[in-house]
């Protein structure tokens, strides 16, 4: 479903963020993308998210060939992707419910469907009871779950998470990883980028390990 083929990303002449990275991810598969800071994890996610363009190589996701995707089609691609950030990126003046509803609103879904789907997504990640709270009223763990609910609200082809536990303590981090695994068991295709290699290894999922932009290990 996701095919990353000999992808290289360079910034100027000197910095090579990714070098000849190739892998495939099947529908319903989950992988932890591990590596130290600066290994190229975020760069790879940004390329899949089409925030940036590879210097060479190809990326395809379901029906989308990212190399040939015109700028005007990027919103369409993103409606089929879920993205979880380290810093949650919730809109402060919207309630948790309204934040989760956002991707469905921009996709032009009917209000009745939005209400139903947001309820489902929030129940799936266990924050339904906090639906009327504003982001400032949520704990870090809760805020990240709301962000996760937003990412799965539109039932994406692929769920991407970039250091989602970066602002969480160990317990919340583990709980969140378990939640990703649960979503994967329910059918979601997931890539979680993290520098917590040891914790990621505990879940028995595929590990894609990057070092200095090179894919050093692909352990299934």
């Amino acid at each position: 479903m996701l095919e990353v083929k000999e992808v290289t990303k360079e910034y100027g002449d000197r910095i090579t963020a990714l070098s000849n990275v190739s892998f495939e991810l099947e529908k319903g598969e989950m992988a932890f993308l591990t590596g130290a800071s600066g290994a190229g994890k975020s760069t790879l996610l940004r390329l899949i998210f089409r925030e940036e363009f590879p210097t060479s190589g190809e990326i395809s996701l379901g029906p989308y060939n990212l190399a040939e995707l015109p700028k005007s089609k990027i919103p369409d691609l993103r409606r089929h992707l879920g993205y979880v950030f380290q810093d949650f990126r919730l809109i402060s003046e919207r309630t948790a419910f309204e934040n989760v509803a956002l991707p469905l609103e921009v996709a032009g879904k009917a209000l009745r469907y939005i209400r139903k789907r947001v309820d489902e997504a929030m129940k799936q990640v266990g924050v339904w009871q906090r639906r009327n709270s504003y982001p400032r009223q949520l704990s870090g763990g809760e805020a990240q779950r709301v962000a996760l609910a937003r990412a799965i609200a539109n039932e994406p082809l692929l769920l991407l998470a970039d250091e989602p536990t970066g602002n969480l303590d160990m317990k919340n981090s583990r709980d969140l990883f378990e939640l990703f695994c649960k979503l994967n068991l329910q059918g979601a295709t997931v890539i979680v980028a993290t520098h917590q290699v040891a914790m990621a290894s505990e879940f028995g999922k595929r590990i894609l390990h990057l070092e200095d932009g090179i894919l050093k290990q692909d352990k299934k």
């Binding site: 369409d76 993103r78 409606r79 956002l102 991707p103 609103e105 921009v106 937003r150 539109n154």
Partner: protein, 285 residues
Amino acid sequence: MRYLIKTIAEIRRASRHQPLSIFGTIITILLAMLLPGLFWLAANNLTAVEKKLKANMTVDVFLVDDTSQAKIEKLRGELLSLEGVSDVIFYSERDALFKIRESFGQDIIQDLDDNPLPASFSLVVDDTVLEPETADSLVAHLSALDQVEEVVFAREILYRFSGITDSIKRFGIVIAVLVILSGIFISANTVRVAITDRREVVEIMQVVGASRTYIMTPFVLLGGLLGLIGTALSAVLLRLIDEYVSNNLVELQFLNLHEIIAFILTGLLLGMLGALLATRKFLKI
């Protein structure tokens, strides 16, 4: 409907977060649009005066003394058949004397023994004759007619007036273009501040797949609304100025309904265009 709700929310938020900027933009657009509005008003009124002048424009053909009645009738026929002449009025020597008395009073000619005034034809002409070349050839033609002593066609005043009206119109257009450009800039600047204030939200919108239209619409409508309010207030102020001048100086004719709508729509469009430029630049489209 959702766009409308989003736009209202965005305007309320912008008014709360940047009230001075919003207020300042409306006032600046109001004052800026007043200038082309005044030129428009002036041009309209001058055009109306010019039309009136044209309608009253006559060519006076003075006849030699003692022209016989038969020759007068023959000449009348000839004059009526001329192209561009819509009517011919004859003034006898007595009529001329009467006109002078009416205009200047009895005293001016009471010491004269004879009536020195000649008989004349007054030609009512249409617009085609008012063109300089046609007018010159008409005067030349009339002057060459038998029994014609002199031809007076006081058209210079009309040409001078038309020249002034044209200059004001041209100057008004230049001013309008400059004002519209500055209005676009003002609107763009305010919307740029509004969208920068919402940078995080806009980025999140992009992440969840919002289209450019979805993101841009509330900001473009915000710019349009600022332009609309500023120009509508400008039209109100223009009306007050018109009333003041009409009551105290000279009767003015205000813009008609279509012109007022066009004036306000210009403000709406310049506001939207400025906002469009600002959002496009922000979204790097």
